[in-house]
């Protein structure tokens, strides 16, 4: 595939495009081959003519220095103490494979050592704090069994650096990384994140403000994720619908504000619902999917939250929610507030008062909600739904027969 074809597909918004799969720029240099057990990091970096090409990085090691082979050719090798920041201004003339349209050549940087931590969240000493500079990092490939933290690995911040050209991240082979806090924060062009993250416990803001990246080859933990706060805040990721992606959350104990103000459109499908097997915190889905103005459908499996405070609040486009076991829920405050499009809801066994006022339920939709209620002395409010005038006494009796009070 030629570069022009790639750009055409990448930038197409629809038409004949039937897949949103990320396509690696075919003119990019291949990331070098590694084997499990290596301890090496490769960075593919864009370098421009007549401009600084700053690159700063940070590693810790279990012993000895870490080494940077700046052009992966043995000509410019430097050694750095563990815990020290290495700073470079990459030489454009050493770049390869110019991509004229985007105005850069490419450099492959190689980092080796007994690595235990690595990140690019570093400001070059020649850049003023608050500058907001963007690095030329395009792709990162890490192969290491000894790195245990990827905190801030590609994090962006105006006080340091942004990695807004970064589209690809791969962790190859066995991973013992447990901390992914802020790992991909602000990588707005991120197209693919690949690797085994199954030992992760802390994903706080890990994917916040990322691009619509492909997670189909990203293996997430099946248990023990204790921090998933703000993990997709502001993210442009649009769907969790592939068989692998719908198990993305199966290890999450408490998805507090996970999708705060993001742009997700689809959480699961009827045939591929998203799995929340590990959900156990008393606050459950606390603001978990709030303010998702583009979310239309949310299909769950093995989801038994103990609380749903503001879970779907302000999800104006949300039409369908299915697969929630509500029998343990103790808080339904503002759960569906301002969900003006909501017309189909499957939460079984609810026993606490809640409101569906100002939604879009037909009579049939409301009857299904009544059928799913648990036995309780509680109130369900369905005021201002299109189906309310069509409810029959027999319909209402489905709810009242279980002890509920209905306000219409």
């Amino acid at each position: 595939m030629r570069y022009e074809q790639y750009i055409s597909i990448r930038d197409s918004g629809g038409g004949s495009c039937t897949s949103r799969e990320w396509i690696r720029n075919p003119d990019w240099l291949d990331m070098p081959t590694t084997v499990d057990g290596d301890n090496v990091i490769y960075l593919l970096v864009a370098v421009r003519d007549n401009a600084p090409n700053f690159l700063s990085l940070y590693c810790t090691t279990s012993s000895g220095n870490y080494t940077v082979d700046l052009y992966n050719d043995g000509t410019t090798i430097s050694s750095h103490a563990s815990g020290s920041q290495a700073n470079f201004d990459l030489d454009y003339t050493k770049g390869q494979n110019e991509i004229a349209k985007d105005g850069y050549k490419q450099v492959m940087v190689k980092i080796t050592g007994n690595l235990t931590k690595f990140d690019l969240y570093r400001i070059h000493p020649d850049v003023q704090v608050g500058h907001g500079i963007c690095s030329g990092v395009l792709s990162v490939k890490i192969t290491s069994q000894t790195i245990n933290s990827l905190r801030d690995v590609l994090r962006g911040n105006a006080n340091r650096v942004f990695h807004r050209m970064a589209e690809e991240f791969e962790f190859f082979g066995t991973s013992n990384v447990t901390v992914f806090q802020n790992s991909f924060y602000e990588t707005r062009k991120m197209g693919k994140i690949k690797g085994d993250f199954s030992n992760g416990v802390n994903f706080n803001s890990a994917f916040a403000y990322t691009g619509d990246f492909d997670a189909s080859e990203l293996i997430m933990p099946s248990s023990g994720v204790t921090n998933f706060s703000q993990s997709f805040a502001g993210s442009f990721k649009r769907e969790f619908s592939s068989p692998n992606e719908v198990s993305f959350f199966s290890g999450v104990i408490y998805p507090v504000t996970t999708f705060s103000a993001g742009f997700v459109e689809l959480l699961g499908t009827p045939s591929n619902p998203v799995d929340f097997t590990s959900l156990s915190n008393i606050n459950g889905f606390y603001q978990a999917f709030q303010n998702q103005v583009r979310l239309t459908q949310a299909h769950f499996v093995n989801a038994a939250p103990l609380g749903m405070y503001r879970a779907f609040r302000n999800d104006y486009s949300l039409t369908t929610v299915t697969g929630i076991d509500g029998s343990g829920v103790t808080n339904m405050t503002q759960t569906f507030q301002n969900c003006y499009s909501l017309s189909w809801l499957r939460i079984t066994g609810l026993t606490v008062s809640f409101t569906l006022e100002d939604c879009n339920f037909s009579r049939e939709g409301l009857v299904q909600v009544f059928n799913d209620l648990g036995i309780a002395s509680a109130t369900i409010t369905v005021t201002n739904n299109p189906g309310v005038p069509n409810l029959t006494p027999a319909d209402i009796a489905i709810a009242t027969g279980k002890g509920w009070t209905v306000t219409t």
Binding site: T330, N331, Q337, T379, T405
Partner: protein, 79 residues
């Protein structure tokens, strides 16, 4: 956006398992009773915890304010 009711309504406060207020602006019904807003003068309150108020009671307003601490605007813009 949802706001505090401006019209007369029936109010019921739940304290368990968490504080929650149910509001009926037209009709409240279960197997024991039916409350119609147009007949509100005919009832003797409280009825199973329900009260009629022409304007929202202060306790309801306090609860509402407690769960809308900033009443943020949702624009979908990045933070």
């Amino acid at each position: 956006m949802k706001s505090i009711p401006e019209q007369p309504a029936f109010y019921k406060q739940y304290l368990e398992p968490t504080e929650f207020w149910s509001v009926g602006i037209n009709k409240v019904e279960n197997t024991e009773y039916i409350l119609l807003i147009e007949n509100h003068e005919q009832y003797e309150y409280p009825i199973d915890g329900w009260y009629y108020h022409a304007t929202p009671p202060q306790a309801y307003i306090d609860w509402w304010n407690s769960i809308h601490p900033e009443d943020e605007e949702v624009t979908g813009e990045l933070l």
